[in-house]
């Protein structure tokens, strides 16, 4: 197994390299340059020459690419021309928002999607089945931003002042003025330095995790309430896809001979459904879960825009408009990494679900 994982990681290096090179060239094809995009009216030839020299854009493109590749190996992703800070710093600050958002969206999609699919398949053609599939059809058709805004109107405007109210449009990640401790502060190790400090700061930025690890439950609840609407808005399309796939895959499996045998031996319906049916119906479901993660990153751009979350989605759309080459490349590298890891995890899970599929 470990051998398989290592080999897969090695074979994914060309894919990553391809993405880095393509994005590197692509961003330099975009008309406009970082200097005029950043300095605006203050840009002139002398200032731009100085600006380009500072972030290494005065070199020929092949030289720039060589330097970039050498730096990437040491985890140095270059300087952001817009923020004037290292890209790794910008990403470490903004990734936690997106990771938290997509995590809860995915949990919602898997739990609700599989739940609906199982209910629909186990009571085929019943009102529950028709209802669940109508919900799924609506779910794939409603745009992320429309669903987000409709929910925000209901929970933040209509229910305002009731206990059911939730933070709505442009509400950010926490209530205004909310104070909290980072993990190193709460644990009394604020003087800590080095990579461990970096990891803890990164985790601190995922507010729900921070709240749980440091027992600041008010922080957890406030952050979680801010995440409910964005996560549902983002998770609805994958939820609907998972529901449909679970239903059709389960119906196919439940029609097979060994399921009839299990029923004939007198096993209870629920045991047949979960132990014989669901487990064997999971392969295609896991595949669509893996495929939907790329879509979540697309949807994150829209969700973050509506709910005022400064995550990676907003960062990349800002970076593209301000021609912030290093940030675009950094995010693209991250997206490619997610793609590789998700594919790997999907393949590994096949082996667990079906012993006949041995990773080789």
């Amino acid at each position: 197994m470990i051998q398989f994982i290592v080999r897969r990681l090695f074979t994914s290096i060309p894919v990553m390299l391809g993405v880095v090179v393509i994005v590197f060239i692509l961003v330099r094809v975009i008309p406009g340059d970082p200097c005029t995009a950043t300095l605006g009216e203050r840009a002139n030839a002398a200032r731009c020459a100085e600006f380009n020299a500072r972030i290494g854009l005065d070199q020929p493109i092949p030289v720039q690419l060589g330097i970039y590749l050498k730096d990437v190996v040491t985890l140095d992703l270059g300087m952001s021309s817009k923020f004037g800070r290292p890209v790794t710093e910008v990403l470490l600050q903004r990734l936690p928002t997106t990771i938290e958002l997509t995590f809860y969206a995915l949990v919602f999609a898997i739990v609700v999607g599989m739940g609906l699919g199982i209910v629909a398949a186990s009571r085929r053609n019943s009102a529950a089945d028709v209802g669940a599939m109508m919900l799924a059809n609506l779910g794939v058709s409603i745009p992320v931003f429309v669903l987000g805004l409709v929910m925000a109107f209901f929970f933040a405007v209509i229910l305002k002042g009731t206990p059911f109210a939730l933070p709505g449009v442009a509400a950010g990640r926490l209530s205004p003025g909310f104070r909290f401790d980072t993990i190193p502060e709460a644990w009394g190790i604020a003087t800590l330095d080095g990579p461990l400090r970096g990891i803890l700061d990164f985790l601190s930025n995922m507010y729900t995790i921070n709240g749980l690890l440091t027992f600041q439950f008010d922080l957890f609840i406030d952050a979680f309430r801010h995440l409910i609407l964005p996560a549902i808005a983002l998770g609805t399309i994958p939820m609907a896809i998972i529901a449909r796939m679970t239903r059709s895959s389960l119906l196919e499996v439940m029609g097979l001979d060994y399921v009839r045998t299990a029923r004939a031996k007198g096993l209870r319906g629920r045991i047949v459904l979960f132990r014989h049916g669901l487990r064997n119906a999971m392969l295609p479901v896991v595949t669509v879960i893996g495929l939907s993660i790329g879509g979540l990153l697309s949807g994150a751009v829209l969700t973050e825009t509506i709910f005022g979350l400064t995550g990676v989605g907003i960062t990349i759309s800002q970076a593209i408009t301000s021609r912030d080459y290093a940030v675009i490349q950094g995010v693209a590298l991250f997206v490619a990494l997610v793609y590789v890891v998700v594919n790997l995890l999907t393949d590994i899970s096949y082996g667990f679900l079906d012993p006949r599929v041995r990773p080789s």
């Binding site: 393509i22 692509l26 745009p143 429309v146 409709v150 449009v169 790329g294």
Partner: protein, 317 residues
Amino acid sequence: MSATVDAATGTPLPAVDAGATRNSRSIWRRILAQRPAVIGLTILSFLFAVALFADVLATYNPERSVLGIETRAQGAVARAAPCIHALGCAADRPEHWMGLDGNVIDEFARVVFGARVSLLIGFVTVGVAIVAGLIIGAVAGYAGGWIDNILMRIMDVFLAFPALLLSIVIVTILGAGLVNAMIAVAIVAIPIYARVMRASVLSIREQDYVTAARAMGESAFGILLRRVIPNSLTPMIVQGTLGIGTAVLEVAALSFLGLGAQIPTPEWGQMIGREYNNLQNAPHLIFFPGIALTLTVLGFNLLGDGLRDAFDPRLTR
């Protein structure tokens, strides 16, 4: 069945042409037996009617403020709520079924004309993507070898990027605007059609009537154009119907972000994007275009699902 022969070349035509009327009638019956397809067709017929009769339905200009015609005293202010006489709106005020938008333009006119824009976006975008995908997929599948390898690897690279992010990059290269947004969404969609086309070409390439055509000395290009492509269109049509919904969604998303349709074009995504910060005091400016957008996508998705089930009995539920 009479032996149909192509008058120009003397080669027999593929069997599918014979008895085409009988076939097409049974295909229609199969499609109409699918409940989702019927619902989808109903929604789409309604939308087509709205788009076709937009001039008749909308009494106001979708791109011009009503301020010259109506006064502020009559309620002509930015983001005015809907005024419907039957629902108790004062009779001396002009009716605006969906209220007025931020530029004091009749929202109903914009939503109605938006149907025209969105249907056009869907068909043109997918049409372009299908033609490009068809050519790439057909060439890759029929030629095989290194041509196939290179073309499909390029398609794989495109598929590895999240669709919206890739289209944002392409729009940035081309410049913001409705046509450029459509081009970007079309480019991003090409790999799907190329794959579908290639798969069906691979299976059709081995059919007897293709071998027959080759034996009779028909050129490779002729075989591709007259034998292979016409017979591999069904999966493309199914995929294309599902793809129209996606294309409408993606162009709307780009417009929502300000990269697609620009003011004053009545495009639903752009209308929502301009007004979502006023959700609290003017929710009608989000809801009406939002419902229209959802309905359109739902219609194409349901029809696409129905078509797929009708053409692929293995998937029948």
